[in-house]
């Protein structure tokens, strides 16, 4: 999708005025947040699992080259093909080439964020393939021509009414002439439409929640089973995955799976957890004839060599955005690309550049709720702060803020001057605002006073009053 992260402020302000979105976002605390809390309380070893998960992933990242090569060798041994892609463009070209070589016409997709990251749908459609998303949320968004607004629940911003309208508009020609309003009827209608797509598809493309180095397997978790159909029914299967998805062993993946659904949706485990290894073997009754894995870097090796390395531990559970007070007010689209919330505010500036996504690391109160729930203990506030340092060093932050802050620091580094300047300023402010108790407007502080009063200071400063008191005692 065309990023619009640079318009974050305007996007966010529009989102705050969108009643449907606001109603949908209220459900986050009640649904995902409460669900995770229930899981957390029910699992005594939750905290120790977080520590072990972090250790597993840190070890993997320390030896990523070796594990990727091991994974590649196992994929090839099992009869699959592995393709390396440095950039989204390379990844798209590889996928399109595989589809063309297979003389495919129709492609179905299982939900995958890296697929969104490389923009695979648009590229396939432009190359003449018919592409269908099979995850219900993603399917809804495909009909609505919208990007996901949440990495786990992509259509969380859509109301049931909007979905009823969309289905009627797009399914009428397929014989579904009644506008369905019940949840189950809507799901059933989508299921019927999608079933035909599954059976007719030439190529199935999924992502991967994990790649297992010791077996060459990929793991996907879904609640709808669409991922399984996407990987088993078409004659060609393509797995698109980023290089940070690899873990050493099945044991490691099992541990991470215990944290993933609990952190994401508040489920002990998702309805489907599927391990796939290579193409159909002679003795297999079904499965794809061709099995391809496209491994994508897209700035990840750059992150590996920087202070942002911990971000590569991310297992895409979405807990950080579920618990983020900013995401909870503005939703995912305001962030302007496919990764929203705290994790997106780290990833987007790396993948699109700070010129495009400079707002994101700043649109955070550093309240730290994300870090406390992250199942792999990514220090998100610290990473966001370090992106701010990069901005500061590259002079990419606002010049007014820089000047104001430099001035403040210059004065604050001179305590005598600070005291000489602050005492009269506070005394004056206090006198001016005495009656009302606060200011409705204040020059140079319109950001504050636009939405709240600036309370009146008491007058004088503690330092001056304290010194007076001490002198009085002597």
């Amino acid at each position: 999708m065309q990023p619009h992260s640079r318009h974050f402020k305007a996007n966010a302000e529009a989102a705050l005025r969108e009643p449907n979105l606001q109603a949908a976002l209220k459900q986050l605390e009640l649904g995902f947040v409460a669900g995770r809390q229930r899981c957390y309380e029910a699992l005594p070893e939750f905290e120790s699992l977080r520590d072990r998960a972090k250790d597993i992933l840190d070890h993997t990242l320390d030896n990523l080259d070796a594990y990727l090569l091991e994974y590649e060798a196992r994929v090839i041994e099992s009869g699959g093909k592995l393709h390396w892609a440095s950039t989204p463009l390379e990844a798209r070209e590889i996928v399109i080439r595989i589809c063309r070589d297979a003389e495919a016409k129709t492609v179905i997709r299982g939900k995958s964020m890296v697929g969104e990251e490389i923009g695979i749908n648009d590229a396939l459609e432009a190359a003449g393939f018919e592409v269908t998303e099979t995850d219900l949320g993603e399917y809804i968004l495909q009909l609505a021509k919208e990007p996901p607004s949440h990495i786990v629940a992509p259509a969380i911003h859509k109301t049931k009414d909007e979905i009823s309208d969309l289905f009627l508009e797009h399914h009428r020609d397929l014989g579904f002439t009644r506008r369905q309003t019940e949840r189950s009827a809507l799901v059933n209608e989508a299921r019927q439409v999608l079933r035909g797509k599954f059976l007719a598809a030439d190529v199935g493309i999924t992502g991967a929640n994990f790649l297992i180095a010791e077996t060459g397997s990929n793991v996907i978790v879904t609640n709808e089973g669409n991922g399984d159909l996407t990987s088993t029914l078409p004659r060609v299967q393509i797995v698109t995955a980023a290089i940070d998805k690899v873990v050493p062993t099945l044991e490691d993946a099992s541990l991470l799976l215990r944290l993933l659904a609990r952190s994401a949706t508040g489920q002990d485990i998702t309805a489907y957890t599927t391990f796939t290894t290579g193409p159909r073997r002679k003795q297999d009754a079904d499965g794809p004839v061709e099995y391809h894995v496209v491994l994508i870097d897209n700035h990840r090796s750059e992150m590996l060599g920087s202070e942002l390395r911990p971000m590569l531990r991310c297992i895409r559970c979405g807990a950080c955005m579920n618990h983020c007070p900013v995401y909870g007010r503005i939703g995912g689209h305001a962030y302007g690309w496919i990764y929203p919330g705290p994790m997106g505010s780290v990833l987007t500036p790396i993948m699109l550049g700070l010129d495009e996504a400079g707002h994101l690391p700043n649109a955070c109160t550093l309240n730290g709720r994300c870090e406390t729930v992250c199942p792999v203990k990514i220090p998100l506030p610290r990473l966001l702060r370090s992106l701010r340092s990069r901005q500061h060093l590259q002079r990419q932050n606002s010049s007014l803020a820089r000047v104001a802050l430099s001035l403040w620091t210059w004065v604050a580094l001179r305590p005598r001057l600070y005291q000489m300047l602050t005492w009269p300023a506070m005394s004056l402010l206090s006198r001016l605002g005495l009656k009302r108790g606060g200011f409705r407007r204040m020059p140079f502080a319109s950001g504050w006073t636009r939405v709240r009063d600036l309370p009146t200071p008491q007058g004088s400063t503690f330092q001056v009053l304290w010194q007076q008191q001490q002198r009085g005692r002597k």
Partner: protein, 262 residues
């Protein structure tokens, strides 16, 4: 620079009070309340004159050079004391958690910052956790609700300590609000950079304070309190807003934050 000092007993713990710039400029009464609480608990309190800002605004804005300069100023002013204590989890969180991080590569200064970090405390947690204070001598005939600042809750692990001391204030009833672990929308420069988002967060917090039935809002961080008091004033809410130190020191007889003459 001269150093203003009060004495308790000569061998009592010697505390350097980090007033914080917000308290210094906005609400000196919180500083006096902190001094009173520390003295009552048996400390010798000194207020170094060479203190201003802890550097958090610069640090959080990515201006690491200036943040480090201010950190060194704090180090020089406070490392001689047994403890550095202040009425703000946000500032003390910076000193305790982030100063060592800022100087991680500076082998010369890091040990000094680690030492400073290990003796730095937010006021209320210092009273309870270090000095073992169980109760205060104060009265406040109001129904209050307590806002946990994010730095208190998540950087310094402060949740039970303020509630413990509030329980000892005679006449005070504590009604908990919903969502006490959710940020009020202050966030330092965030609140002026993204006022609309910040304002919505503050409005939601104000609504949960109102729903608690409390007539007074307390917290341990003046940043949150100025944000919330300002929002309450803008929305015409009658809720009174105080720093917890003012109530614990029995000094909440002054005007509440944002209170006018009308």
């Amino acid at each position: 620079m001269t150093t203003a000092e009060t004495t308790n007993t000569a061998d009592s713990p010697h505390v350097g009070l980090f007033v914080t710039c917000l308290v210094d400029l906005y609400r000196p009464s919180v500083g006096f309340a902190a001094v009173k609480l520390l003295q009552q608990a048996g400390c010798r309190v000194t207020v170094p004159q060479a203190q201003t800002c802890c550097g958090q605004p610069a640090f959080n804005s990515g201006d690491d050079r200036h943040a480090r300069q201010l950190a060194v100023q704090v180090l020089n002013a406070f490392e001689e004391f047994d403890y550095i204590v202040g009425p703000s989890a946000s500032c003390l969180g910076t000193i305790r958690c982030h100063y060592p991080e800022m100087f991680a590569d500076d082998t010369g200064l890091l040990p000094r910052f680690e030492a400073l970090s290990s003796k730095s405390y937010e006021l209320v947690s210092f009273l309870v956790d270090v000095l073992g204070v169980e109760a205060v001598e104060a009265g406040f005939d109001h129904c209050v609700t307590y806002h946990d600042s994010c730095s208190a809750l998540r950087e310094l692990g402060i949740k039970s300590q303020p509630r413990k001391l509030l329980a000892s204030v005679s006449g005070l009833q504590l009604n908990e609000s919903q969502g006490t672990d959710i940020c009020c929308g202050f966030g330092g420069t965030f609140c002026v950079k993204y006022p609309e988002i910040s304002g919505r967060m503050a409005a939601d917090k104000v609504a949960s304070v109102e729903a608690s039935g409390a007539d007074t809002l307390l917290s341990g961080d003046l940043g949150c309190l100025l944000n919330l008091a300002g929002k309450m004033r803008r929305e015409g809410k009658p809720t009174r807003v105080y720093h917890i130190a003012e109530v614990l020191a029995n000094m909440a007889d002054c005007k509440s934050i944002g209170e006018g003459d009308d």
